[in-house]
């Protein structure tokens, strides 16, 4: 049979294929960092046989559409995660006692008995603003 004919043979069942199933490469999650000192942010997944290959794919794939300075690839099997369903991470009880917001209004009101507004504003200027 000529090559042009061979190229036209259709297969309708797995058993007709002349090669066995090969399995997939392993997924690697990719994290990129846009500037030094900033957090690495998840940007996608590549399939690769090892970390070196994953990194090289990741560089081509995710490192080109934006300037980035650093990259991590992590085999997905090494990542351990919570479940969206049924697993509670944030406590359901009020834990305001362990946050600034549990005190801020009360403390301000108490200070006002001792100091005038302007003095107090200046003093509270040095407070750390909680950003959780």
């Amino acid at each position: 049979m000529g090559l042009s004919k061979i190229r036209q043979i259709e297969a309708h069942d797995d058993s007709e294929l002349s090669f066995p199933p090969e399995g997939d490469a392993k997924p690697y999650e990719v994290f990129i960092q846009l500037n030094r000192g900033q957090p690495h942010v998840h940007s996608g997944t590549v399939d690769a046989v090892d970390g070196k290959m994953a990194l090289s794919y990741a560089k081509k794939h995710f490192g080109r559409d934006q300037e980035c300075v650093h990259m991590w690839v992590v085999p997905r099997e090494a990542m351990i995660s919570t479940n969206y369903d049924g697993e509670i991470i944030w406590p359901l009880t009020d834990q305001g006692y362990r946050l600034v917001r549990g005190y801020a209004i009360d403390v301000r009101r108490k200070w006002e008995r001792f100091r005038d507004q302007e003095e107090l504003d200046r003093y509270q200027d040095d407070d750390i603003k909680e950003m959780f």
């Binding site: 030094r36 000192g37 006692y97 362990r98 600034v100 403390v107 200070w111 001792f114 750390i128």
Partner: protein, 349 residues
Amino acid sequence: MSAGVTTAVELKMDWEIQEDPQRTADFQARIDAKGLIEVDDWMPHNYRVGMLRMCEHHANSEIVGALPEGEWITRAPSLLRKLALIAKVQDEVGHGQMLYHVCQDLGKPRDQMLRDLCTGKTKYHNVFNYPAPTWADVAMIQWLVDGAAILNQKSLAEGSYGPYVRTMKRINMEEAFHFKSGEDMVLTLMSGTPRQKKMAQEAFDRWWAPCLMFFGPPDSDSTKTGPFMTWRIKTKTNDTLRQTYVDRFAPAAKALGLIIHVAHKDKDGMVAIKPDGNPDMVVDEQIQFDEESGHWGFTQPDWDEFFRVIKGNGPCNKQRVALRRFSHEQGHWVRQAVMGSAGLPPSAN
């Protein structure tokens, strides 16, 4: 020590080392441009050692600092205060965990750090060698000591070592709660009965001087300041931080009705009592706002006392290290069980 346990090569400052001039120049250029150094970056040996030392001292301070306050948990005056104090102590131990991690990446195993703390080979912050005999001390610690820590850590968060800087930012978020709850406790006491006010004043007299010492010896006596500032391991000098602290806290204390004294301490860290039965202290007349400089004056703390306490002869040094050692020993079987070295399978959780 059993086989298979890794001990790091002793990391020591060495000013004889000739570092690669090009790398050193590039390193300094990045620091001068306010850039960050990361764990895998090249860094001069003494930068690594200096950073490790400071971070280890900081980590030690977090977990030793939890001891005097932790002892008050069972005696907290209300459920809210108890919850807050438990949370605060838990935060501090967590700060220690994060900081030990930064140190591990710089080359010293955690196990060795915890052992060195128990044997007194490494130190923690001097301020935690003072006693906390009343509930008002807990309040003053959270307002004055956490307030000092925030000021210091804000300046350290402008430093050059990325992992430490990011840890500082995260820690400061939690310190903000400690400080607010400390203010709340001090304000409550100073709005209270004459007995509560008296208790607050007495605690204030115990903590004011140790807080001035918190920022370290005067710049003229501080050997570290030079290279540490150039490398931005530190970003502000001891004296600068101390002045900023006084500018913030002296007027606040005055407004609350607290009197700032220059007090003489006995060996237990309590204000000494004169033969006539009165406390051995005088009002600090230097506490005045100077229009010209724009700063508040203050009397320097007793620096001889500072060096005496740092050498291990403070009121609570032995007690604190012994309690840390006791806790570490008590935790031995737990660590063994978790790590699986007691012949048990490692924990599944």
